[in-house]
Symmetry: C2
Subunit: 304 residues, 2 copies
Amino acid sequence: MDFPAELKRYAARVEQGIDQLLPPATTRPERLHTAMRYSLQAGGKRLRPVLVLATYHLFAGMKSEGGNSKPEIMDPLPAAVAIECLHTYSLIHDDLPCMDNDDLRRGRPTAHRQFDEATALLAGDALLTHAFVLLAESYATRPLLAHALIRELADAAGSRRLIGGQMEDLLAEKKDTATVAELEFIHLNKTAAMIEAALVMGGLAGGAGEGTLATLRRAGRHLGLAFQIIDDVLDATADSATLGKTAGKDAKAGKTTFVKLHGLETSRQLALQQSDAARAALMGLPGDPAFLLALIASMAARPS
Amino acid sequence: MDFPAELKRYAARVEQGIDQLLPPATTRPERLHTAMRYSLQAGGKRLRPVLVLATYHLFAGMKSEGGNSKPEIMDPLPAAVAIECLHTYSLIHDDLPCMDNDDLRRGRPTAHRQFDEATALLAGDALLTHAFVLLAESYATRPLLAHALIRELADAAGSRRLIGGQMEDLLAEKKDTATVAELEFIHLNKTAAMIEAALVMGGLAGGAGEGTLATLRRAGRHLGLAFQIIDDVLDATADSATLGKTAGKDAKAGKTTFVKLHGLETSRQLALQQSDAARAALMGLPGDPAFLLALIASMAARPS
């Protein structure tokens, strides 16, 4: 398997999907739809939607676990785009003045700097809502699948998970230092929830059974934690140009990170442990996990 | 039918449903869940959820249009609470400093005044997401119904409707005056979309067929427009104590309203026309619309 070529192919499908599945910028109100596209089409790694597609391809074309053909297999692209809409909304709101007050995102002005605060707020609201519109509309001929995908995404994005993690993150910033348990809650929910959802949604679209979905969820949790620890390490060691966002801002904001709590070396080891656990879970699945394993390896080597 | 008693009964069911169907305030993170409950439990008319329940009761217990019994009839309360979560999120975000910058809502400090801006932002995000969590979870045993309800609510709340109306409203405020067509777009989407959705969701939970759902949608649109015109009239004529929110703020903000475009008397006539159209649509439905008709009459007589 040619990992860079495969990754490029998946990412290109995501870009194409975003262009097709978002309302055109000329849709009324134009300013809102332009802002939605501005933030969603800013590039980025597309990690979550690529995970949806790659997980789907673990199962697509295979016999189902019960040995039958799988009529429930569906195009995973709308699910991939939906999770990227969700992720992008969380970035737009996270960048707002009342939150992180960030000027730069993926090397470009953040939405509220490019437009204004109200437009950024509404564009975020609209992307969050559009994730559910997309799932409900695109899978309308398969309402059971639509329901399962929506349930997964809504739970992962809700007040106990993604938004709960954001809230605890904000509260932790006001303290001198967060505890290990607090940091774990934040990362499990602010980061890992969406990675878990990406793998599970890929599995759902590919017709995976209950047991397989549980394994995917476990793999996603480990992968999400690995990803977050690596992010903390990079924030402490890389420069802004390499990251495409302001580097060292965690330390400057007095933010508790894995690096602050455990030091650089232990953080790197923790990231490795989590990657290994994700890898082990994936090895137990049907299908060829070569691409997903290579993706994990490339993450650990970021920025590449 | 004793309208005030019936209204009270419906509203009490909504309050009870909100208490049961929102995560307890002690759920981690407590500050987020406390803020969600603060805004959702601030009272208010509960117009949208009451419409869901009352529309459902047009159909519940009746034979279906095909003459069969209706196994798809479900408790409409989660749908009613979901639409109130959605409505409350839109109010919280609308009140934020970068939007209307309002200090008072339903006679109490707005969420960002009571907590802080970041908490209000996240509480709004969480209520929007919780609407979909609720529908996906509460109707999990009836995934077709869950899917139909989610599709209806997401479409009504999306970038072409509720949020689109908010955006056009903001843009209109920056101009000297909006045109009649612009004002219609704003009201059709900012206000009527959710009223339409309330009637359609009530119909879906009650097992209404396609033709009936189209009639409910039409009734909802007229009702929504009537409601908004009456709101404009009240803003121009009532005082803050009566309204429970800042009165006269539309005129002060230089906002274009029906009253500004058409004058007070014509606006009252327009409201009457829309109420009549809503009434006519409802009269064509199966079931006894007495409560809904009385609700429309009481709206025209607000504040009561």
